[in-house]
């Protein structure tokens, strides 16, 4: 599998570290709603198909990427920096 890193270009999957489901919302840090925290920490969206997930390009530019990928075919449909501010002006090398 190749993941097209917005900074480094397409790179082998072995350079990346999977960081899981990107549809989780972290509760307000001060929140004491254990159910909400439990949902955030333990529950995952795990569809057979299109999945929104984080990957870190750990063996490259080290940024976290927001990747849309099909879990049935492994086809990657979209990639962007997780840190939205970095997406401005990003391109392939």
């Amino acid at each position: 599998m190749l993941i097209p890193c917005p900074h480094c270009g397409p790179r082998d999957v072995s350079e990346f570290s999977y960081q899981g489901d990107a549809t989780r919302t972290r509760p307000d840090p001060a929140s004491t709603d254990v159910k909400a925290w439990h949902d955030y920490v333990y529950n995952r969206s795990n569809p057979a198909g299109r999945h929104s997930e984080y990957w870190q390009h750990a063996g490259g530019c080290r940024t976290h990427l927001l990747v849309t990928r099909d879990t049935l075919t492994h086809e990657i449909q979209a990639v962007a920096f997780a840190r939205a501010a970095l997406n401005e002006g990003a391109g392939k090398p």
């Binding site: 190749l2 999957v13 960081q19 509760p27 001060a30 080290r62």
Partner: protein, 996 residues
Amino acid sequence: MSARRTSTGGLIDRSRTVRFTFDGKTYTGCAGDTLASALLANGITLVGRSFKYHRPRGVYTAGVDEPNALVTVFKDGVREPNIPATQIELYEGLEAESQNRFPSLDYDISALNQLAGPLFGAGFYYKTFMGPVVGPIKGTRFWMVCEHFIRRAAGLGRAGYDKDPVRYERMNAFCDVLVLGAGPAGLMAAEAAAKGGRRVILAEQEPRAGGAANWSGETIDGKPAAGWAKTMAERLAAMDNVRLLTRTTVWGYYDGNNLAALERVGDHLAARPPGAPRHRHWSIRAEKVVLATGAFERPIVFPGNDRPGVMLAGAAERYANQFGVVPGEKVAVFTNNDSAYRAAAALKKAGGAVIAIIDVRPEISAAARGLAEEAGVVPLLGHAVVGTAGKRLTKIMVQRFDAATGRLSGDVRPVEADCLAVSGGWSPAIHLASQAGRNPAWDGRLNAFLPPEPTQEWTGAGAFTGAMTTAEALSTGRDAGLAAASKKASRAKLPEVAAPALEVNPAPVFEIKADGKAFVDLQNDVTADDVRLAHREGFVSVEHLKRYTTLGMATDQGKTSNVPGLAIMADARGLPIPDVGTTRFRPPFSPVSIGSLAAEKHQHFKPDRLTPIHDWHVERGARMMEVGLWHRPMIYGDPGETVEQAYIREAAAVRASVGIVDVSTLGKIAVKGPDAAEFLDRVYTNMFSTLAVGKARYGLMLREDGIAFDDGTTWRLGEHDFLMTTTTANAGNVMQHLEYFLDVVWPDLRVHLTSVTDQWAGAAVGGPNARKMLEACVTRSKVDNETLPFMGIVHGEIAGAPVMICRLSFSGELAYEVYCGAGHGTHVWEALMEAGEPFGITPYGMEALGTLRIEKGHVTGAEIDGRTTARDLYLDWMLSKKKPFIGSALMDREGLIDKNRIRLVGVVSLDGQPLGGGAHIVEKGSLEDLGESIGHITAFCYSPALSKYIGLALVKGGKARHGTRAFVSDALRKRFGPVEIVSHHFFDPEGSRMHG
């Protein structure tokens, strides 16, 4: 020249004789031979024994699909089993041996298995060997005794235990177009893509390009096809943008058009050049792929179809045309299609006597008739082979056959033959195309599976697509090459092929049903009756068939047996073949050396990670140990000292005067930016924004789930500039954890993280004389109590090198961590040693470091083990109530504050014996009657400060047990003894020494 070797023709070099041995006997062959062709040239047709029945077997194919002729090769001082003789290129001195026979290939006692044949039907072992229900061999005993013998009978070749001494390598490659197969289609595709300006890799599993052109006997552009292919290959190899890889099998088609290939760089050489790998594993990323992998011939299933001398017709043709070998003196041909007629003509031309052509069809094409005439026989149409005889084939039985009904009739006639060339039609080699998961499509005319719709960026060409003629191969090859290069189709004239106009579609005859064992999977000894038995017992889905009978699970992975097996099942079920389905092809396409996949890891599994002071430790005689990838001193043993004596001496020296330990491996992260302090407040359980510049603080991190994650000190070097330290083991995890939060959770924070673990060499000096010795060597800064109080930081110099010194203590002594640039590490370390000399400074290793920390009750990874909470470790004083932090929301869940949790305590051995890491704690019991575990020991040592064996433990109830008795139970190593549970702060609990 042997009798079977033709005097001219073929692509071998008769002037270069090559000597080799088979089963210890020396033979000769020619350069260009395979072991299989050389054995055949020497008249050797019996080369192996089958898996289950130990039936004699001979060379069956001429390629990677060989099910029978597996041998063990001896090279480089090691043995390599299960190599098809058809894939071994002859080299001077080649040593090969037959397999799975005892005492010899000719007389194998296990062949007696055949007598009990009906007992050994598919799946027989599921129905028996359960043994008695009661008595001494109940349970699994009886089966295990039987299994012992079954295991010895099973298996093919024998593997060695000696380390493979050779080199394997990995190679990454990128190209625009990867062409698989350098037959006519692949050559055309590669040329078209290369002329289109693309970077092309052309991979061919055989030693020479050309594919079927090397043995088809056809003519292309007026030249023999083999010559045309050679010229094409040379032209391609000369182009800058083409890499031609021969002896290279592309075996895996992975996601993202990443393909894996095995290049056999040195197998064909008697000696490899220096530095050359034996195998090279290629990982190829291709924009586009052209699959021109050709087709495999398949057999017809009939009784006795496994006898040595029976082989595929295409293979016989190839032996004659490419290798100049006639595989028999009296050759018969059995076919359901025209292609075998070409083989018959070729065998005749090579000097063989073609005795008969038996064809199941009532009618054949004019071209086939012409070839039969060339072969000098009148084909027996509407006939079938119903049996064979001879240990090595001596004759075949022939009977009238109705292809429409499958019925046999009339007399059984014997025909004398020592070679039977069989063709049951051709199956496109769709393996790679199918690896991605889509099912192939059945073609009712070719009676074969065609490739599925592409799931990746590939196009097909040639026989792979079902285009079986050479002319079609050339045109589809060029088209595919142009398409892969995104070029328009060409109207230019294609090379002209002169070939007989054979009918490509076979008759749909897969099996001749007559009495006797008819083999579907030759290597696994799966018979047509086994398939029918599976059907009878309900194992009718193709996967059940495969698993129940082991059909297609042998080293050839069903290349010859897949379609016949399905056809027999389809017949039994009364369904069309595609309704029975096909098994999904899995990587690898053909077996791949494990060494090649390990590549450089074969000789060195993981890189060594060395501290800046590594060489000093080694020279000083330190015994090193692995900590993750790091090498760290365990002890600096004096001659004759045990590990225990050494660490006790080292630890005692620290408490008595001063010691020094290399702490360069601690994770170090530069945390910088306007929001750095805020960030640290969020990730640590305690406050860092209140830390003064020039001071350090001990910090604890939790995971989101409230479990303790890591600890360490963080130093505030500037208002917006922190140096975080982590445990050695967790450095990478902490870095990733922090980066995740900055990128994903708090992208608004302006903080940069940089790993500076390797930037700094660290030496911890501790002991009552630590300050005095620093005073002796540190310049440009004072180190007295005012300038450098506990947790203070100063910048100075030691022996001219800039250093940063923080006064903190892991040992519980007056201690300092001295950091300097890693390149100055040894220099500074030596200066510290010199300054410490008057105080008898002692370098100490991990064991003494552990001893000192156990005496102090400091926790490390053994206690922060991913399951413990801050409370479990009595670190709740570090949990700030003034702010939320990572983990604060979930750390108080009922399960995490349960009173029965195991919590940190100290234990003291009461019998003067060591405690043992990993031992458990019980309230009562004995080695004979183990009590219930209430916890376990995480670390132990002999404490020189307390003069007894002590340990840290996680025990149910924790503090509540202080002062109580219990037992240490290391039942695994037969140790049981009394302990007292005490506070984990064994030594100097007030900390007066480190504050002193």
